[in-house]
C-alpha cells in the first residue's frame, strides 16, 4: 500500500513534468529567449514569476527548462544502462576472469564522487547537451552495472537457467531470453533513480557554470543567474530550484517504489 502510494505520487509528478515539457510552446506565455526592457520584475499578473536580468519571462524559461532537464536526465540514464547493463550481465553470468576484471573497475568508479568526476570530465570535454549526457551516463554506468551483475549472479543459479543450458541454448540466447527479462523490472526502477541523480548532477554542474551554454533555458543555469538577484526577484532562483527538487523527487519516488 505504502509502495503503491509512492509509485503513484512519483509517476504523477513524472507525467506532469513530461506534459509540461511536451506542451511547452502551448503553455509558455512568452518566448523563453525573448528579452524585454522590463528587467528583474517581481511576480505579477503579466509575468507570474517575474522577469530575469535580461527581461525574459521566468515562467516561460522554467517551462522550456523542463525539456532540457528531461532530455539530459533521461539521456544520461539511457547511456548508463547501455553501458552498464551489458557489462553487468556479462560479469554476472559468466563470472570467472571477465568478472574479476569488471568488479574492480566498478568499485573504483563507485568509490569516486560522481559530481566531482563529472565536473573534471566536463571541464576537459567542454559543456554541451551531448557531452553532458555522455559524461553523466559515463559517471553513472558502474552503479547500473553493479546492480545488473548482482541480479544476474542470482538468476544464473536458478534451475530454469540450468534447464535452458540442458536444452542446448547458447549463452547469448540464455542471457537475452532468460536472464535479462528477469532483471528488467529492477533495471527500470534503477533507471528512474538514475534519471533523478542525473538531473540533480546536471543542475549542479549548470549551477557551477559547466552546464548547458546560454541562452538555452535550463534550471541549473537559472538558479545560478538568479543567485545574484535574489533580493530583486527571488523567484528567478527559487522557482527552478523547486522545479528541480520536484522532478528529482518524482523520478526517485517512482523508482524506489518498485525496488
Amino acid at each position: 500500500m505504502m509502495r503503491n502510494w509512492r509509485f503513484l505520487a512519483g509517476a504523477s509528478i513524472v507525467v506532469a513534468v513530461m506534459a509540461v515539457a511536451g506542451l511547452a510552446p502551448v503553455l509558455a506565455p512568452y518566448e523563453p529567449n525573448k528579452s524585454s526592457v522590463l528587467l528583474l520584475q517581481t511576480p505579477s499578473a503579466t509575468h507570474w514569476l517575474g522577469t530575469d536580468e535580461l527581461g525574459r519571462d521566468v515562467l516561460s524559461r522554467l517551462i522550456y527548462g523542463a525539456r532540457t532537464s528531461l532530455v539530459i536526465g533521461i539521456g544520461a540514464a539511457l547511456v548508463a544502462v547501455l553501458i552498464g547493463a551489458p557489462i553487468g550481465l556479462v560479469g554476472g553470468y559468466f563470472r570467472g576472469r571477465i568478472d574479476l576484471m569488471i568488479v574492480p573497475v566498478i568499485d573504483l568508479f563507485v568509490a569516486m564522487p560522481a559530481l566531482l568526476l563529472a565536473l573534471i570530465i566536463t571541464v576537459m570535454v567542454g559543456p554541451s547537451h551531448q557531452n553532458l549526457i555522455l559524461v553523466l551516463g559515463f559517471v553513472m554506468w558502474p552503479t547500473m552495472a553493479r546492480l545488473v551483475r548482482g541480479q544476474a549472479l542470482a538468476i544464473r543459479e536458478a534451475t530454469y537457467i540450468e534447464a535452458a543450458v540442458a536444452a542446448g541454448g547458447t549463452s547469448a540466447w540464455i542471457i537475452r531470453r532468460h536472464v535479462w527479462p528477469n532483471i528488467m523490472r529492477i533495471v527500470a526502477a534503477q533507471f528512474a533513480i538514475a534519471v533523478s541523480l542525473a538531473t540533480i548532477t546536471a543542475t549542479s554542474l549548470s549551477f557551477l557554470g559547466l552546464g548547458i551554454p546560454p541562452p538555452i533555458p535550463d534550471w541549473g543555469g537559472m538558479v545560478r543567474s538568479g543567485f545574484d538577484y535574489l533580493a530583486l526577484n527571488p523567484a528567478m532562483s527559487l522557482a527552478p530550484g523547486a522545479a528541480t527538487t520536484i522532478t528529482v523527487l518524482g523520478f526517485y519516488l517512482g523508482g524506489s517504489a518498485v525496488e
Binding site: 536458478a158 534451475t159 540450468e162 540442458a166 536444452a167
Partner: protein, 339 residues
Amino acid sequence: MQQATPSPPLLDVDALTVRYRARAGLVHAVSDVSFQLGQGETLAIVGESGSGKSTTGLAIMGLLPTDRRTIVHGAIRLTSKSGSINDVLRLPDRERRRVRGNDVAMIFQDPMSSLNPIYSIGSQIVEAVRQHRHVARREAVADALRLLAELGVPSPDRILASYPHQLSGGMRQRVMIAIALSCRPRALIADEPTTALDVTIQAQILALLKRVQRETAMAVVFITHNLSVVAEVADRIVVMYAGRIVEAGPVRDVFKSPRMPYTLSLLRSLPRLDHLRRSGDPLEAIPGNVPSPLALPPGCTFHPRCPHQIAGICDGPMPRLEPCAPNRLVRCARWREID
C-alpha cells in the same frame, strides 16, 4: 572379424573421473565410474548426497563447468540420432549444444524453479521445440499441445496459456517432462524428478515416465536416493558411495541379495510395512557420515562405517570393482565372506 557383434550401447560412460580444485584441496567428486545403457533401459544411480550421482548426470549432459578448476577424465560415448558416436566430454561447444536437449535431455528435481516465472508454459515448450527443430511457431504450438495431451494433461490449451505459478508441482513436472521430450531425445537424465513432489503425485509421474519410455524406447538414467523409487522404475541399479561405484547389477538381484555392506545398510534403513517393527524400535541407521570428498579414507571408502570391516584388509588397498555373479559387480574386499 567377430560375428554378430552386439550393437554398441546407446550410452557408454567409460572410466569417468571428475575432480574439482578447491581452495582446501582436491575434491574427488567422481572416480572411475563406468556403465552402459541400451535402448529402452532404465538405470538407477543411487547414493547419498555427495556420492557423485548428480555430477555423473551433469557430465552426461555435458554440463560440467569447463574452467581450469574442473578436471575431467574418461569418456562418455553417446550414440546420436544420426547413428554417429560422440564423446560428450570432448565435443566442441557447438556440437555439444546440439546434443543437449536433442539427443539427451534432462529433468530436474525442483519443478518449482525449473520454469522461468516470466514466460507462459506454452512459450517455454515452443522455445524448447524450436531450439533444435526449425519449425514454424504454429507447428511448434501444435507439437506442444500434442505432447501435453500425450502426457495425460487435462485441457492442454489452458495449461499452455498459464504461467508456472498457476500450476501445481506435479503439473509443472509434467510440463518439464514435455519440454524434455519435445525433441524426442534418445536418452533422458532424470535427476531426482519426484523428490519435491507429494507421494501420490510421485507415483503418477513415475508411471508416466515408465509409459513414455515404453512408447519411445528411450534410455533413462534415474538419479535418486530413494530406493523405493528404484524398485518401481529401474532395470539395473548402480550404487555409488563417495564418488565410486560400489555395487551394480539388476535391481531385483541387488535388492534380494546385496553384496556390498553399504547397499545392505541402505536397504535396511528403509521403513518397510511387511517387516512390522515393534513401535518405538528405531529404524536402522548407518553410523557415521559420508566422508568428505576432500579427504577420503584409505582403502575402501566405506570401511570406517562398515560393520564388517577388518583392520589390515579394509583399510589396505582400494578393493577392485569385480564381478560377483552374472551381470553383477561389487567393490568389497570381503564380499565372498559376507553373506
